[in-house]
Symmetry: C2
Subunit: 347 residues, 2 copies
């Protein structure tokens, strides 16, 4: 999300009920030019809220034990969110699925299109923006069951009033990626195939491009390793038809359950040792390192005054750091590490 | 440490033996003008290596079980370090005590004195610098025994050859701070009194100033809380006599054992419950958040290619993140949190 750190958003207020929409009244209107009957903002919000319901239902059904706890909040100037967290379940140690809608104002220097198209003389004022997204991290207990992360988001600025000709800007971002502590080839293949088949419905170049983008993005630079075994990732995507990208993001969100749940079904009850658990915990430590040091969503959220508990729900319940831990060459732990250092093609 | 992120240092090489010094030969010489017989660089290196020995001996003696594992390394252009880590001891879960000596080159924009004194015409080239420090984090197992961190460092640039009149720069930085999961007033008082009595030997203003600096520095902004209960912290200190500051840093390092070890002796065998342990683990999570998001030494080290395992030895063996955890008002956990939110005067 290409938002500068100079902006900040208003403090959230807890709400007792979910509103039907977090959009400002002025936003939630029929548009005349768009191909559908309501604005992209409105349809994107509906999509992420539906996806939140679907994913949470699937998780609860498989977990069998725990239920999601819901927190709803709003912000004075419009926007708000719903956090759902399942903690200490039978299958998942910690599962968070959040949606949020943010209205904010960004400094003019951040509005790139205006800079590019307008004369140096024309200095637009602060540019209002809208952002909405779903974000989720699912950390299972069993060390053979992988962590899943997905996030889909839509961003739009208003057209700056005082820079004539400068356009409204919009883009989509997101991705789904898998972070196992142990490799089961069939699982990783299944997961990547699901991403590819979703991508292929829209553009034959998407999977290869977004798979590489994912490998590049989830890179823990100081370790020289990726966080996990990848998936797809894209950001600032606006050079395609807007309706097509909305459908693409929707399809990506819809593919989360079929891509992930079958893997969990197979792994959730596998017997494991303390050593397996300790290795999972070390990999969870790497997860923490990536999220706190590199993840743009997290670092952006921490700096701009987002809802801290919602942002940091991505962190695992427990994590571990051993000094200078080196898995034995050829071991299962070493194989995972090797695939994090040298990303593979899975299909 | 006011070092810009543009610099980077060379990759380290493991060594089988501790050298008598990590200084370049050209550095390790008698100086004629300094008040003592050898350079500040040489005396600072000796001080931190002695302090490393003293602290490690004291830790091993109290732990009774485990021993420090030592890693020695050097860098091609001069410099190197010694990491000592005790893991899974009887008393300490993880204890790291590192010394390092770094030679590097910083971009001219970072050399502030040259900019201030020289004409705009005179553009100095890259400025060689020297930095040495001791850094330590000690995480005990018992939730009633506090974590200790201390770090003392000395920084020096060469006088830029191509900016006539621009001086050599130097400064000292460091501090010692205490991070308990539970407050024992007598422990915190003892710790702060030890810091104050060290400070008072040098300047009556030091303790109050460095105590506040510590509260300000170890601030987890996104939480609105400090990492722990403070101590002393200072940085960029050069507006005092250089010999005085060298003595001050030495005295600070020497006070680590008497300030900390008596507290550990009292707490290491106290009985505790799973609930106490879980709260300690949550506070360890905050420790991780501070170190990965805000700590200048850590973020600088990760970006410049320092020795990763030495830098991240500061992270606890295990940590925990619960969604939206709120200690009950008036509880012992709440009292600790309150003191992290509203720093107190302990003496």
């Amino acid at each position: 999300l290409m938002i500068p750190s100079a902006i900040s958003i208003e403090k959230e207020t807890p709400e007792t009920h979910r509103p039907s929409t977090f959009l400002r009244e002025s936003d939630d209107v029929l548009t005349t030019l768009s191909s559908s009957s309501s604005s992209v903002r409105a349809r994107f919000e509906k999509m992420i809220r539906d996806a939140q319901d679907t994913v949470c239902e699937a998780i609860e059904a498989v977990d069998g034990g725990a239920h999601f706890k819901e927190d709803v909040w709003s912000r004075p100037g419009g926007g708000g969110g719903i956090s759902r967290v399942l903690q200490d379940g039978a299958v998942w140690e910690k599962a968070g699925v959040n949606v949020s809608v943010v209205y904010g104002v960004m400094p003019p220097e951040a509005y790139r299109a205006a800079k590019a198209s307008a004369d140096d003389q024309i200095k637009p004022g602060p540019v209002p923006f809208f952002a909405a997204g779903i974000s989720s991290v699912l950390h299972p207990k069993n060390p053979f069951a992988p962590t899943l992360h997905f996030n889909y988001r839509y961003f739009e600025t208003d057209a700056p009033k005082d820079a004539p000709g400068a356009p409204r800007q919009w883009w989509f971002g997101g991705g789904t990626d898998l972070t196992p502590a142990y490799i089961f080839e069939e699982d990783v293949k299944h997961f990547h195939l699901a991403q590819k088949s979703t991508c292929d419905k829209f553009d034959p170049t998407f999977y290869a491009r977004f798979k590489k983008w994912c490998d590049d993005y989830f890179y823990i630079k100081h370790r020289g390793e990726r966080r996990g075994l990848g998936g797809i990732f894209f950001d600032d995507l606006n050079d395609y038809d807007q309706e097509m990208l909305l459908s693409f993001a929707t399809e990506c969100a819809n593919s989360v359950v079929p891509a992930y749940i079958p893997i969990i079904q197979k792994r959730k009850d596998m017997p494991f040792t303390d050593q397996h658990k300790a290795w999972q915990q070390l990999r969870r430590g790497r997860y923490v390192e990536f999220n706190l040091v590199y993840d743009r969503g997290t670092t952006f959220g921490l700096k701009t005054g987002g809802r801290i508990e919602s942002i940091l729900v991505s962190l695992p319940l427990t994590a571990r750091w051993e000094y200078d831990h080196q898995p034995e060459e050829g071991s299962e732990e070493w194989k995972l590490l090797d695939a994090c250092i040298n990303p593979r093609e899975w299909i």
